[in-house]
Subunit: 213 residues, 2 copies
């Protein structure tokens, strides 16, 4: 079973690593980080480099495709070789997935038309323009398309998908292995729980979550 | 404020990325990935490469030190240049932290003597031999030493530490930015919650969480 995780400039690291550190632990999984070029991609903050080992042309039939999000997708909304690759591999995947604004890339490539999907809470309103129906769920399954909400939700998606693929016991073993028994010190992880002023700060870009472009 | 995150062969990615994707978003933070050599380090599964931009000698006075865990620490328990560096920078840090079995490295370097600390649940019994007192808490503060339990607990540690450093509002903004409103699809994230057979499988190494060395 091959898992392909897309890298690009200004991706959000945890978007990629949540699904990675769950799905890659399924027995028999082989994971490859893939990019339009091979080599190091810098993340949204700028201080982290992660390596794409394979060019798009080397990955033609992954079983699972994972598209992370971040501020980077804003530069990836135009049709071109990346979208062509996404459509070509999607035609052969068992599961096509995204985390956070990765769903905007899938949508821009035409893969979410008429499907229920999610994204980072602050980007949900962009889904209808791409033909998708936004939901407020954290992880959305619509056929083989699995989209997760913002950043950290990729861990929940990875475990849910591991259960579908390999069974509940394998998914539970992975959860226990990564000791995923979350205890957030605050209850501010969604816009309906966070103080309104903090939600407004994020929505209006007044809190610099990412580095300068 | 400089944050130094240590990389080494066979680190667990989420151990590093949980603290990274929370702490690096504190306004004014500057994060550097540091290693005994610069360049790409492969993680525990083997399919992911992350880049250390600075050698140990370039990072002499970080405000925060983060030591991730994984199977890699087993090779890092002997005294030598890495332990010397850990002791030297610890003498100047405001916070010295670890995730998962990263606490075993800190302990082996002599930094947790007489302190309350934690580690991955399956490694807790190694702490007393290093002079530390194990606790069952997910995130343990003992003075400036902050240790977190297995893998995913680094997210909780990062948010708790962000709150201490920059205040509750900043920590909440980061939590909302990464949409950390966890909904694990199973309740198997700690050994007292997971089915006993699954706990035994992990403890006895019968579930291959990492790649072959």
């Amino acid at each position: 079973m091959q898992i392909a995780i897309l890298l690009y400039d200004r991706f959000t690291t945890l978007d990629a690593v949540g699904p990675y550190d769950t799905l890659s632990r399924i027995p028999g999984a082989e994971t490859v980080f893939v990019g339009e070029r091979t080599g190091t991609y810098r993340n949204d903050v700028g201080s982290l480099g992660m390596v794409a080992d394979a060019p798009l042309s080397d990955v033609t039939a992954p079983d699972i495709l994972v598209v992370p999000g971040g501020p980077g997708p804003l530069a990836l909304m135009e049709d071109g070789p990346l979208h062509e690759w996404l459509r070509a591999v999607d035609a052969r995947t068992t599961w096509t997935t995204s985390v956070c604004t990765g769903s905007l890339i899938l949508g821009a490539a035409g893969l979410l038309k008429g499907r229920r999907a999610t994204s980072h809470w602050a980007a949900l309103d962009q889904l209808p323009g791409l033909g998708a129906e936004p939901t407020g769920e954290r992880v959305v399954f619509d056929g083989k398309y699995v989209t997760a909400a913002g950043v950290s939700s990729g861990i929940d998606m990875g475990l849910a998908l591991a259960g579908r693929i390999a069974g509940d016991e394998v998914a539970q073993a992975i959860q226990l292995g990564i000791e995923y028994d979350p205890r957030p010190p605050y209850d501010a992880g969604s816009p309906d729980k966070a103080p309104a002023e903090i939600t407004a700060m994020i929505r209006e870009g007044r809190f610099p979550l990412a580095g300068e472009e």
